[in-house]
Amino acid sequence: MSEPVLVVDRLDAFYGDFQALFGVSAELRAGEVLAVIGANGAGKSTLLKTIAGLMPTRADAVRFDGAPIGALAAHKVVARGIALVPEGRRLFPSLSVEENLLVGGQLRRPGAWSLARVYELFPVLAERRHTPATALSGGQQQMVAIGRALMSNPSLLLCDEISLGLAPTIVRDIYACVPRIVGEGTAMVMVEQDIGQALAAAKFVICLQEGRVALTGVAAQVSRADIAAAYFGV
């Protein structure tokens, strides 16, 4: 078996004096998908933000391609090949669709993804390339957010609640793209409220509860009862 791309090792995270994560560990290999589930406030987004470098932590609590990156600033983490699709999409409102994508690709990391490939993945964006990004529908905005992250050619893509606030058919369309993304060898960590969607797309799953790992396993093998127990701590 190949070496893991991402190793999260006894990770702690703090907001000031408040500790949000307690000794979280996980591993992921190229082309694999990890689903992170849990109730509101369990620390799912915090885990992604910490991996992406938006929140500092112990250097060796996050290792990527073997190198400790826990203490790196966000802009350096991206340069190494980790991209985050933030919760709520957070597109740049004063930039057009295409400009949002170009900002995502401004590091010019080599790889499979380009403006043309993103438009091929989401053809509707090509039609609306000169529209201000925030004038799009919610689903299209989510496509821009994913495309923007792909433009940096990440070897690890972090997705925070990409189904949030979207109609089920649109969520299905978006998730239909996941195989094409991991097909390029990209690993993914997806935080989801929609457990069914997450388990269907992922190979592994971890469930967080109040900042601690309450369950970890192969997505296809965990039962609903296990998840309910891990979710609510009963």
Binding site: A74, H75, V78, R90, F92, S94, E99, V103, Q106
Partner: protein
């Protein structure tokens, strides 16, 4: 009647200079919400750098721009990375106080080195040349050149903001700093580049000011205020609005001066307060901004 047309035209040309004072201020406010109280003193600093350059190299003030622009841009980059980046945050007090302190330091530093004497850069025969328009109106060649330079600088800034990768990064950082970092943008570097460009514009403005009129170490704050008035009257969001704001201020001042020389600056301030009273978002603000 013709006199008034002439006065207004002089005001328009003067407005170009004010728009340049404003453009640098507007750029850094847009990118990092920083209002630089030392902006006017940096314009004066640029004028003195030009003075030293012309004397040391024996060249005219306009060629000296080639030296003054990179010098000021470097100062801007260093100032931002070495000092001003540490003041940015939710609290408006630190950047305000630190740039206020900087203003006092620059003023008194210049006073120490160059004394309080008034100086002026000599541009040679072009200073008295003029362009004759039909109807007996004569415009000084130098003010016309200055105005054209101002329009060119603002046009260049506009292109930079909307047609280049750097401009895209500026707008992205302005919209959402944390997410900009997720795109691999080093915000601190981008802020420093914005300040460098701001001071490059300041450099051009400083040279033009030094050719146009006398300067001494104490005139910076008034230039800050003129630039600020042009920014607010133009509406915070747009560079071309800034040019319009600068022209409005310039026309108000020359018309005030025609009524009574003591009213030149006052008339500009009063028009500014009037705009603030009737259209607080500026004369040329885009709707919804």
């Amino acid at each position: 009647m013709l006199d008034w047309v002439n006065t207004i035209l002089q005001g328009v040309l003067l407005g170009g200079l004010y728009a340049m004072f404003a453009a640098g201020l507007s750029l850094i406010f847009g990118v990092m919400r920083l209002v630089n109280i030392a902006h006017g003193d940096l314009i004066v600093l640029a004028a003195y750098v030009a003075l030293v350059t012309t004397e040391a190299l024996g060249i005219g003030p306009l060629p000296a721009i080639v030296v003054v622009v990179p010098v000021m841009a470097l100062i801007g980059y260093g100032l931002q990375r070495g000092l001003l980046n540490f003041t940015l945050g939710d609290d408006i007090l630190p950047p305000l106080l630190v740039t206020f302190g900087l203003s006092i330091i620059i003023q008194n530093g210049l006073l120490e080195i160059f004394t309080a004497d008034s100086r002026k850069l000599q541009a040679g025969p072009i200073e008295i040349a003029s362009i004759h328009l039909p109807g007996g109106i004569a415009l000084g060649t130098l003010p016309v050149i200055q105005f054209l330079v101002a329009v060119a600088v603002i046009g260049a800034l506009q292109l930079l903001l909307y047609r280049t990768a750097l401009g895209r990064s500026f707008r992205a950082v302005s919209d959402d700093q944390p997410v900009a970092q997720l795109m691999g943008i080093n915000n601190r570097h981008i802020f420093a580049l914005a300040m460098a460009i701001s001071l490059a514009v300041v450099a051009v403005a400083g040279v033009l000011l030094a050719v146009r009129s006398n300067f001494d170490p104490a005139i910076g704050p008034a230039r800050l205020i003129f630039g600020f008035e042009a920014v607010i009257m133009g509406g915070l969001a747009s560079l071309w609005g800034t040019l319009a704001g600068g022209i409005l201020l310039g026309v108000a001042q020359t018309m005030g001066a025609r009524i009574d020389p003591g009213w030149q600056i006052l008339a500009g301030h009063l028009v500014f307060l009037l705009v603030l009273a009737i259209r607080p978002s500026g004369m040329f603000a885009r709707p919804g901004q």
